[in-house]
């Protein structure tokens, strides 16, 4: 499909890249975002990635809407040339169940599985980070098995600890910081997805894949300690090939 360009208020353009949320659409959105930011076209500001769209802010004192759309269309033509960075796979250690994942059994029961089967199914795929948003560092992950789909809690929790990993309908996600929420919690990672004390506060980027690695409580404690002292190095590998589409 041809991209669709629409005004979003008087300082942004919403570029609809596709009507589907899939990995190819995501690669196109990341390419366009990279072009807008790297070409440093004067008058363009920041970009926000969505499932099917890229929101591009612009300065109306420098560009009219028509001029901004013209520039975006010329970038659209250059997109095939964009080399996306090599795809990273980031290992997310996670303790499943117990006090760290109080809803593990409910998720198992809802899907007629054992808790161990939930753990095996949840920790098998590499999940694509479509984009980050909602709260700082919160990844929108794609690729969870339909076998684990479970409705949200009817009564959301007032406070969920940072690092909690949950399921909401067909999605899985990680809460970077303590917040309220209605996702079914199945486990918790000791990693900090958002750490404002670091030069780069964000562990993940759009286009990364995450792979959950089951660990035991004792290992959880020792990683928490390493994260706190700054000794922890995340385990990152490169996915086969590059992200060129």
């Amino acid at each position: 499909m041809k991209f669709r360009y629409q005004p979003a208020g008087d300082q942004s353009i919403l570029v609809e890249v596709s009507r589907q949320d899939d990995e190819e659409t995501n690669a196109k959105i990341r390419s366009l975002s990279k072009l807008v930011e790297e070409e440093q076209v004067s008058g363009f500001g920041e970009t926000i990635l969505g499932y099917r769209t890229l929101l591009v802010t612009y300065d109306p004192l420098q560009l009219t809407f028509a001029e901004a759309v013209r520039k975006l269309k010329s970038l659209e033509r250059e997109m095939k040339e964009v080399e996306l960075p090599k795809t990273r796979v980031i290992e997310i250690p996670i303790v499943y169940g117990g006090e760290n994942g109080p809803d593990l059994e409910a998720v198992a029961e809802h899907n007629q599985l054992t808790p161990q089967e939930v753990i095996t199914i949840h920790s098998s795929p590499e999940y694509l980070v479509y984009f980050l948003g909602f709260t700082p560092g919160f990844p929108f992950l794609g690729g969870m098995s339909e076998k684990l789909a479970t409705p949200r809690l009817s009564n959301p929790r007032v406070s969920i600890p940072g690092g909690s990993v949950g399921i909401a309908e067909g999605q899985t996600g990680i809460y970077p910081v303590k917040s309220p929420g209605g996702w079914r919690l199945i486990g918790r990672t000791p990693l900090a997805l958002y750490d404002p004390g670091k030069a780069n506060p964000f562990l993940l980027e759009a286009g990364d894949y995450v792979k959950f690695k089951p660990i035991r409580q004792r290992e959880f404690e020792s990683i928490v300690h390493e994260v706190e002292t700054g000794e922890y190095e995340p385990v990152i590998s490169v996915k086969g090939g590059n992200g060129h589409f």
């Binding site: 629409q6 005004p7 979003a8 208020g9 008087d10 300082q11 942004s12 919403l14 949320d21 975002s33 500001g45 920041e46 970009t47 926000i48 990635l49 969505g50 499932y51 099917r52 769209t53 890229l54 929101l55 802010t57 109306p60 004192l61 009219t64 809407f65 984009f131 980050l132 948003g133 909602f134 709260t135 700082p136 560092g137 919160f138 929108f140 970077p176 910081v177 958002y194 404002p196 506060p201 964000f202 759009a206």
Partner: protein, 316 residues
């Protein structure tokens, strides 16, 4: 260097500038002053650069003690400012002396006042901005609102800073209890029935008590969707008017989340955003459709005014 001490923080006072740009794609809000116009005018009156940090004071209660002399200006909502219990003019640069107590007693009009000090409030810059983000817990002082006992250091004033600068009355906004704001329709205008669109553009909406820097939530007639209120999550923009399933508009401000999954019927134009930053619970909001080219023309006119005032400042 000037120093202020917080005697009483008020209900919600934060350090803000024009925002932290470029990190929304990581989920970090832009933050910054909710009312850019009043914030920029406050800085201008004390001869600060546009991006200097100021205090954003909500509704009432802030009490500061000057530990040194300083030049300040208070703009935005009229929160009844006094110095040593004597009323002081707003939209005017004034001198305060060592030991003076600045008090913003409570709102007579508007919701947020801006207090600029010549030299700007000096807190560390995080990712390009001093703005406080209480969700991301960054900027300002430890990413939080002010508390009693906080000490505010002020930077070095410009050579042009002096008291007695007064903004022309024609440039001082009023903050009535009923506001008319202009919008550009879209990006999901086609998710609404024609009846829904008519409701949106012809109804009086009341500002709910759930009002914060993230959004202004409205109550009134429900705006009818064609079928669904849900969309695939996408970037959220300043001034976006979102209508979730309950049909009631939510207008997003500087503290908004970076993405959202509900239909947006329209976007409030930039020059009208300050009006929404100054409404209070119970006030009335009405929406009017305008053309994008007009919105851009009004913005250019406003920028021209800022340019003229900035050059007048340097001229004396």
């Amino acid at each position: 260097m000037a120093i202020f001490e917080v005697i009483h923080p008020g209900i919600f006072t934060t350090i803000q500038d024009l925002g932290r740009k470029g990190y929304q794609k990581y989920g970090l809000a832009v933050s910054g002053a909710a009312d850019h116009y009043a914030c920029r005018m406050a800085n201008l009156l004390v001869a600060n650069p546009d991006k200097s940090a100021v205090l954003e004071v909500t509704l009432f209660g802030l009490k500061l003690k000057a530990r040194t002399p300083a030049v300040i200006a208070i703009t935005g909502g009229d929160l009844t400012p006094t110095v040593n219990e004597k009323p002081v003019p707003m939209w005017t640069s004034i001198n305060v002396s060592e030991g003076d107590v600045i008090h913003l007693k409570g709102t007579r009009s508007g919701c947020r006042a801006y207090l600029a000090a010549a030299g700007g409030i000096d807190v560390p810059i995080f990712l390009g901005s001093r703005s406080t983000d209480t969700v991301g817990k960054v900027g300002g002082i430890e990413g939080r609102s002010l508390k009693k006992g906080d000490v505010l250091n002020i930077g070095t004033p410009s050579a042009d800073a002096r008291s007695g600068r007064r903004l022309s009355t024609s440039l001082i906004p009023e903050y009535p209890k009923e506001v008319d704001v202009r919008v550009i329709l879209g990006p999901q205008a086609d998710a609404f029935t024609s009846k829904g669109m008519e409701t949106f553009l012809s109804s009086d909406y009341k500002v709910s008590t759930k009002l914060d820097r993230m959004a202004c939530r409205l109550e009134g007639l429900e705006v009818e969707h064609v079928d669904s209120a849900d969309i695939a999550s996408e970037g959220n923009f300043l001034g976006a008017v979102q209508i979730p399933k309950n049909g009631l508009p939510i207008v997003f401000n500087v503290g908004r989340r970076s993405v959202g999954g509900y239909t947006k019927i329209a976007g409030v134009i930039t020059v009208d955003l300050p009006k929404l930053a100054q409404v209070k619970p119970g006030d009335t909001v009405r929406f009017h459709q305008v053309e994008l080219s007009d919105a851009h023309r009004w913005l250019r006119e406003q920028e021209r005014t800022f340019k003229i005032l900035q050059s007048a400042l340097r001229g004396g």
